[in-house]
Assembly symmetry: C3
Homo-oligomer: 165 residues x 3
């Protein structure tokens, strides 16, 4: 939690003081998710999903309890975010409102993305399928990504195009 | 309701058991909508819209009571969905979070889309105006569609392009 | 408030009567925002942001208390809207669900858009950075705009292209 607070001050110029930051719904979503994911990993039934649904109602952010999320994950605004069950997210990732890390509906088992360290996912970006987003990649707002993205790449557009490698 | 439960197990690989499925907000949104739509059709004033607004608050899904929706409608995740008053949706349609079935602001009367049987609408897809989406069509995530889509077509992109007929 | 009610009847063909219009979440979001913004301007700490967060929970619309918004602002549906701290919005602007008026993360100080009078922002449109959207401009649904838009222009697509000047 302490790391999460620190990262908000570093990354959000609108963060004025500790009281305001404690209102950040992204912080609460991760608080609920850490509990739900722990219960999911030790195979407690039903309860993890119930926690996740309560969190969705309060924070407008939907993270499946199965999703594995690294340290210093920063969710800004967050309304409409959907993170699927088999998603794997590295450390120091930043994610904005409306982002989907989802499936294509054609895969079984690991069917959601793997996101490398230090990636930024812009508002409303949609990443679909069991693909890898390489470390330090920047995914532009509104991009629709269905193919792997190399390390350090910037992608924009729908369908997404790589800008620089 | 029974049909709705069955379709969730068929279409969602993350649906683990009946308790989890009963938490699905899409199921609740349709429960509220069936009541609101019935009251709307028999011309009860105010109450249908009140039910629809309560449903929006609880499920984050906004369906106007006037919208006509077929059987086995499956809403996945659902946050941010907006379905307009004169929308007509066939049977076996699947719809993801962030989808808009809306108006262009230029039409009167029937001003929202008509969606054929067995259509899939990807996350954040936007369909605007009194246009028809043909049976079995697939609308890619993030597509912006303002022209009719033929039966069996797949469209992607913004502005949307037809991939295959 | 009276102006806000009148504009809903003028702009929304689904607005049937005064009771329904009082349920409009956009109206409530602006009610909360007018109070939060007043407290923000006179430099009351913490409380403005608390009001804004409560409003987000109830209306699904997130407006930073610092945002300056003109008269007869019309929010339709509204789920997922994010309006940043240094945004300036003129009079008679219409905005749909899922719109972001946000920052690029690269600017300090005034880092959110300035939106001219009489602009329409379509569903899920994303406007990023300290850029100006000219008077009477129309921003198509799902557009991603990172450059200034001239007066009277229509832009669509991702990345956004100007259709007409």
């Amino acid at each position: 939690m302490f790391n999460s607070l620190k990262v908000i001050f570093e990354k959000d110029p609108a963060a004025a003081n500790i009281f305001e930051v404690l209102m950040y719904q992204g912080l609460w979503a991760m608080f609920f998710h850490r509990i739900a994911h722990f219960l999911y990993v030790i195979k407690i039934p039903i309860l993890p999903r119930l926690i996740s649904q309560i969190s969705r109602l309060l924070t407008l952010i939907e993270i499946h309890p199965g999703a594995s999320i690294g340290r210093r994950f920063f969710i800004d605004h967050g309304c409409g975010i959907v993170i699927g069950e088999t998603t794997v997210i590295g450390d120091d990732v930043t994610i904005y409102q409306g982002v989907t890390l989802g499936g294509t509906g054609k895969e079984k088992g690991k069917r959601h993305p793997t996101v490398g360290n230090n990636v930024i996912l812009g508002a409303n970006a949609i990443i679909l399928g069991n693909i890898t987003i390489g470390v330090n990649a920047r995914i532009g707002a509104g991009s629709v990504v269905t193919k792997p993205v190399p390390d350090n790449a910037t992608v924009i557009g729908n369908p997404a195009q790589i800008l620089t490698k």
